[in-house]
């Protein structure tokens, strides 16, 4: 069923009943998510975390010939500073002040659109919504209607507001919804011979790693929406097929492309670790009828990796994995193959689509720690020392709290972890991290009395 008829994208909570808090065991989590709907929970203590506005800005900022307007107060536009972009990146803020919260910010939005068009000559303009605009209920659409014909390019409202969802990937869904509705070419009579590779959050190293493999296999591809341009996004509906690098994030776009434009979705797991990458490529090979070529490529890669693979570097080490649920499987399996004991995991959310993944966590004991929380470092700190965790494997930024709790971090940031290349890089990172073990700074940010308590005392069930 397509969701494109909706004016705005539904939040993950509404579409897939996503849960943003759980603290217990794997068995408990499987049980909790087994019904038709997942019960929501509320924290009475929380830490700040990314929201859908941040995710939407992040992915849109990587579309090279688009302009971005952050429609809100000046602080919301500090998102652009955080991008640390290449020299041609620029963005606009409507710079709403107190007066605009009373009288409305339409004039400023109009000015911002005209300036963005004049100064950047973009192929599309995206307007990112923020809390101030959402609360004020500014009429963005009338400004768009007024100016779209005048400037002759799509002006697309991204309906983010920062407070309607606890699941920041809703930001990717909102972007997806807008791209499908307003940008992607509706004329799909002719299919071309490339595939869409969907990427929302991957770093350039990971995308380049997968792109390199596709190139070696002579598979034509385009990456989108990250690291793309407006024309490539338009052409998404003419692709031969779609693959997704992280199903948690790209599944929505791939399914809608299949449903609405008939672009087949080659479902697979994230190309992480040897087996993950192998499965990803095999599915692609079957669909494209190049199985032999793919098998040959995989065999060669396997031979290379086998030469260096040491299966016991994590022997006697207790490991915790902090990653998107669709990647926990790949990372966890690889770390187990390196001799580690994965004793728990945390992920920012779990939704109905994740249920089948949870059942595949065969490398975990049913009593393994399961934490669902976007950020919320205190919940992880609660478990680290208690469970004698040695290695904290994380794809998130800002993990220094881990060293305070006596573990050491293996980060996936600023390095490749996808593809066969990623296997070597992860092994090297693990080796480096082990050298830092026992060098923690100490001095926890959290009270001992808190760490002795259960991780659930501050949580309420949502009253519906």
């Amino acid at each position: 069923m397509s969701f494109l008829d909706e004016r705005k994208a539904l939040t993950r909570e509404k579409r897939l009943s996503s849960l943003s808090h759980f603290h217990g065991t794997l068995e408990g989590l499987i049980d909790e998510t087994s019904g038709a709907e997942i019960k929501q929970r509320i924290r009475t203590f929380s830490q700040v975390h990314v929201d859908e506005t941040i995710y939407a800005f992040d992915v849109l900022s990587k579309i090279e010939d688009a302009a971005i307007i952050v429609n809100g107060s000046i602080g919301c536009a500090a998102l652009g500073i955080g991008q640390d972009q290449e020299k041609d990146f620029s963005w606009f803020s409507t710079n709403l002040v107190e007066r605009d919260t009373i009288l409305g910010g339409d004039d400023k939005l109009r000015e911002a659109i005209l300036r963005a068009n004049e100064e950047k000559h973009p192929k599309a303009i995206f307007i990112i919504g923020t809390p101030v605009v959402a609360i004020n209920n500014d009429d963005i659409n009338s400004v768009i209607l007024e100016l779209e014909d005048e400037i002759g390019i799509p002006i697309i409202s991204i309906y983010t507001d920062g407070f309607k969802s606890k699941t920041p990937v809703t930001g990717y869904d909102i972007v997806t919804h807008s791209l499908l509705k307003y940008l992607i070419d509706k004329n799909v009579d002719l299919k071309d011979d490339y595939i869409n590779v969907i990427s929302f959050s991957e770093n350039i190293e990971d995308v380049a790693s997968i792109a390199g493999i596709l190139h070696e296999l002579n598979i034509k591809f385009q990456v989108l929406p990250r690291f793309s341009n407006v024309d490539e996004i338009r052409r998404a509906s003419k692709a031969r097929a779609t693959v997704v690098l992280n199903p948690d994030e790209g599944d929505y776009l791939a399914r809608e492309l299949q449903e609405v434009y008939g672009v087949p979705y080659i479902e697979s797991e994230a190309p992480i670790g040897f087996r993950g990458t192998k499965n990803f490529l095999q599915r692609l090979g079957i669909f494209l009828n190049i199985e032999e070529q793919v098998v040959k490529y995989i065999d060669e890669a396997e031979a290379k990796i086998s030469e260096q693979f040491v299966s016991n570097i994590l022997e006697d080490k207790r490991v915790f994995v902090d990653a998107s649920l669709s990647k926990v499987y790949g990372y966890g399996r690889l770390l187990t193959n390196l001799g580690g004991q994965v004793v728990g995991f945390s992920s920012p959310f779990v939704d109905l689509e994740n249920r089948k993944q949870l059942k595949r966590f065969d490398f975990l004991n049913k009593n393994a720690i399961a934490i669902i929380g976007n950020g919320q470092q205190f919940e992880k700190a609660n478990e680290l020392e208690k469970n004698g965790i040695d290695i904290y494997f994380s794809e998130n930024v800002g993990n220094s709290f881990v060293t305070d709790e006596g573990a050491v971090v293996v980060s996936t940031r600023n390095r490749v972890t996808y593809g066969f290349e990623g296997v070597d890089v992860i092994i090297a990172s693990v080796r480096r991290a082990l050298r830092l073990k026992e060098k923690g700074t100490g001095g926890s940010s959290y009270k001992d009395s808190f760490k002795r308590r259960s991780g659930n005392w501050y949580v309420k069930q949502e009253v519906s």
Binding site: S46, I74, W91, N95, V97, T101, K108, A112, V397, K447
Partner: protein
Amino acid sequence: MSNVIKNPRNGCALHGALQTVQEIEGAVPVVHANAGCGVINYLANKTVGNGASRYSGFATPGTAVQERHVIFGGASRLREQIKNTIKVVNGDLYVILNSCESAMVGDDVDAMTREIVEQGEPVACTLIAGFNGGSHYGYEHVIYDILKSIDGVKKNEKSTDEKLINIFGIVPEKDPYWQGNLEEIRRIFAGVGLKANLFFGVYGGVNDLVNAKNAVASVVFSRWGELPAKLLKERFDVPYISVSSLPNLASDERELIEKVSEYAKIDPEVKESFLESEGRYERNYLSRIRDDIFEYDLGKRTLIVGDEEQVIRYGKLFKEVFGARVVGAVLTDALKKDEEHETDNTEILEAVAENIYITSDEKDIEDIIKRSRAQVVIGSSLEKRIAEKNNVSLLEFSYPIYHRAILNQTTVGVRGAVEFVSDYITAVKQAEKEKSQVLHDYLKQLKNQNSWQGHTSKKGQVKQINLVSELAARESI
């Protein structure tokens, strides 16, 4: 009326308040806003390379308000958040920070804070919202609000310390060198037997806030510290001195110490001995670079983009050391209409720079740089593209500075001045070396050509060489 801004750099009042509280050892910020407000500032500052303090980023407690709190009010959510923050997070002082949402909805943050303070917990709050101003405004107001209420939260008797000086006006994070600069100010005051009450960084902490009323005087190093200094004057009779910028040369240090000595007891012999030593340090290093000044023609046409305080400091330094013409100054923190401060640096600015502009809009800044015909721009990484496009050398010294780790480096005092000068000369020398290499290659190509036609086409490839070469700009000196 404020306008649309391209590439805004300074964040909002909440960001300023948040990064200020985060840098006070022992203070825990509690953000009453939607989930992402506190994160945006972290992601921005993370690119600058100052590292992260304990309660920054995802470690920051926050109410992460949801739609229901926007509709029905978020005061009760805030109440439970404060109560549980005290139970979960170690801290000596908890500071509640307001936001755009909370201000628009009308949550009574003050009442929630008072309620918990009455239970004897160390909690303060600030009511400024993001849209009230930029991060410099947030810095000033949160310090003001904490000092206003800390006496009721952490009791101590007033007992003036004749050696203690409060330091205001150095904005954490927004001055990329804030930590090193605070440490340098501490060194200068220690040199004449005084103690600097820094509030932030290695030597700062919650106790500095408690002790602020016991200082013999406050020194305000930019307009952004005037409010808390005034408060201490009104409430506790702590006098304050406003100076337009942090000291750079030995003469600046002398001027500062002379002013402070009107309030604090300084042994004249210690003072003279220290200042003489500072002068000797400066003379020694600056005399070593005299040849470079002439041989590399360092007194170039210069334009400065940054906070008002930085513009004054760097401008004076470039004029006095290199004889540079400061053809323009772009103030990125100043307000077009400032009704809150008495500080007026117009005359000083006019003495430093030939033209003064107030803007942080990238398009305005690009136009200004283009018109100025500057050879050197002292600015931020956001000016990199403009510098390249206009063949201008860029010295990155104001916020934000990408791809450089800045921990304890300083640009203040004679040591900071020497560091700044050496960075500039290094950059110029590297650019000259690259220019020279390009010319060598050009000459080689000319010698290997068989026909003049070939000369012409090859010459086209290296025609970009000029006084400040394109390559130099590319290296973003």
